[in-house]
Symmetry: C2
Subunit: 348 residues, 2 copies
């Protein structure tokens, strides 16, 4: 049975993703669910974050919380980019206060076997159930659900470094020293992304976002050689599913044209690159998502208001704009401030 989705011809997020005029500027926030919300802390429970992610009722509730509170134009599945890797049994965890950690990082060809083919019908059954619960709740309200997956470079960075990194020295060393192994690893990780996103869309997600959060650690030539072919394969696999594809990373000033080449309808822009510059650099081929500096949510409202207007003005009324932060909501953000952001963007 094809799941019911919000109407693509009246839903702001789905219109803006196709660069079509919308009754209002759509807005949502990366990491809108989670630590910044008191209602999240109330239902989060004692277990690990992966326990909460793999419990459909709890994950669905957490996903819905910011939709209720803020009236944002999209829900994004409460999960993590490493969830499929964890579900596949590679040996990865999310450590509180640190992030993804692997006790045995990926180091050689023999580690490829630890990335066995993913079977979403069993490995990601909890995710499918969560998406179904969410679509049942959201579609009557006209709110699209965004599914997501991690892109190969960003996932590989956790697998190879074994934890969050500042330099990506091991990732880059492996990439350059053994390109064949690098591409074999990325092939597997692209398969994971395709399986994950495909299952989300099949269960009713209305859009997908590919997080290549850390690919901006590469210069364009290396991105083109080591990352782009894999991102393009993922985007192409999603092309026939009729949902908009969003492609996001930070520090991507020089990568924006290549990220657009990969095939998404929407490219996410961090706060460093003004939207007008990003529009020029991508030649208007894609809608843009962004790009308020997340730290501004911590500033007084008068400042935050001025900066929201600056982002909107910089976009100069182009219909292909999904308002968002340039990266995830900081945990110390005041939800009242985020509520005001939504209200102001919708008022424009």
């Amino acid at each position: 049975m094809t799941p019911l989705r919000p109407d693509p011809d009246t839903t702001p997020l789905l219109l803006a993703a196709r660069q079509l005029p919308s009754p209002r500027i759509p807005v949502w926030f990366m990491r809108q669910a989670g630590r910044s919300l008191p209602e999240y802390r109330a239902v989060r429970g004692e277990g690990t974050i992966l326990d909460a992610i793999s419990d459909p009722d709890r994950a669905a509730e957490i996903t819905l919380q910011p939709v209720r509170r803020y009236g944002v134009d999209a829900a994004i599945l409460f999960s993590d980019i490493v969830t499929p890797i964890w579900a596949g049994g590679f040996g990865i965890d999310i450590a509180a206060g640190i992030g993804p950690v692997c006790e045995q990082p990926f180091a050689s060809a023999s580690d490829l076997d630890r990335l066995r083919p993913l079977d979403p019908s069993t490995d990601l059954a909890f995710q499918t159930r969560t998406v179904q619960l969410l679509v049942h709740e959201l579609t009557p309200k006209g709110v699209p659900l965004i599914g997501f997956a991690g892109a190969p470079f960003t996932l590989a960075s956790y697998l190879i470094e074994g934890r969050p990194s500042r330099e990506y020295a091991k990732v880059k060393a492996l990439m350059h020293a053994d390109p064949t192994l690098w591409h074999r690893l990325c092939d597997r990780l692209a398969d994971y992304a395709i399986a994950t996103l495909g299952a989300q869309v099949e269960a009713g997600a209305s859009a997908i976002q590919l997080f290549d959060s850390w690919a901006g650690a590469l210069r364009p030539e290396h991105y083109q050689e080591f990352v782009l072919p894999h991102s393009r394969r993922i985007m192409e696999a999603m092309a026939g599913l009729g949902v908009p594809r969003i492609h996001f990373g930070i520090n991507t000033a020089e990568l924006l044209p290549l990220m657009a080449d990969a095939g998404a309808e929407v490219v996410g822009v961090d706060w460093r690159t003004p939207l007008s510059v990003a529009r020029d650099r991508t030649g208007g081929r894609v809608a843009l998502q962004g790009n308020l500096d997340p730290a501004l949510v911590l500033a007084p409202w008068s400042v935050l208001e001025r900066e929201i207007v600056r982002v909107l003005d910089d976009n100069a009324g182009h219909p292909g704009h999904i308002f968002n932060l340039g990266h995830g909501v900081l945990p110390q953000s005041d939800p009242e401030q985020l509520a005001r952001v939504v209200e102001l963007v919708h008022r424009r």
Copy 2:
């Protein structure tokens, strides 16, 4: 007595900084002294890094080690950007494996008093002595010494966050919530930089580099409002001293034109932005320094060689090029590889 300096009309670094043809492409490495060298570990001693920095004989020896080993075209004073703040008694330390830490971070106007005016003749006497020892050694060999200081944003990030940061949330919150206090803080930090650099040049440094390593966390409008006036004041204070000024940060793709506006002769470019792009974006007004990805030093020589040639080719023979890494040498780098980099750049 005016200290003797290498001849600006025959010294590669000093020619390239003025965009003049040079007998060879000058090359040096940020963090060329220090943890990557076995001879450094041999003389480093048991104390803290600030002990080594404030001991003129040891600091001079550490500064000279990479010049002897690599034959680089410049020495850079072995010190740290927080040294003057430490010498001024603010209450900052450098913790092994972490970086600069403040037990009592900067939080309000009363903390301004902890940044008393610096008197280089007493507070930085050790630095002056180190520079004098170095100039005595280096000038007969025709090797220029680069002095340096931290720029206000980057120093403020340590003072306000109390340690290295990924998000700069507190810095940005203070900047936006209390611009008056922000500018007062930056005024003091600019005074520190001017005093530090002035003393280095007076003692014989042949060039200076202003490290605004983390300013790339800001979008251009915020850089222009909160950072540029202070960097410009520092650059202007150094303008009459007759030594080239280098201005460096990472993640500065969108800031390069503004960093050139601040007044330096040379702008450092991280590895993300191709030199040809940086040249266009700065309109050829400045020489460029960079920009090999430091992680490539960990790759096999055949790869490293290809990537060095790529950087050189991308520069297309423009005389205003000082070859460097796009950021500091990684501690795990093999000195043999860095020696080969110098050899290849010099051979071109």
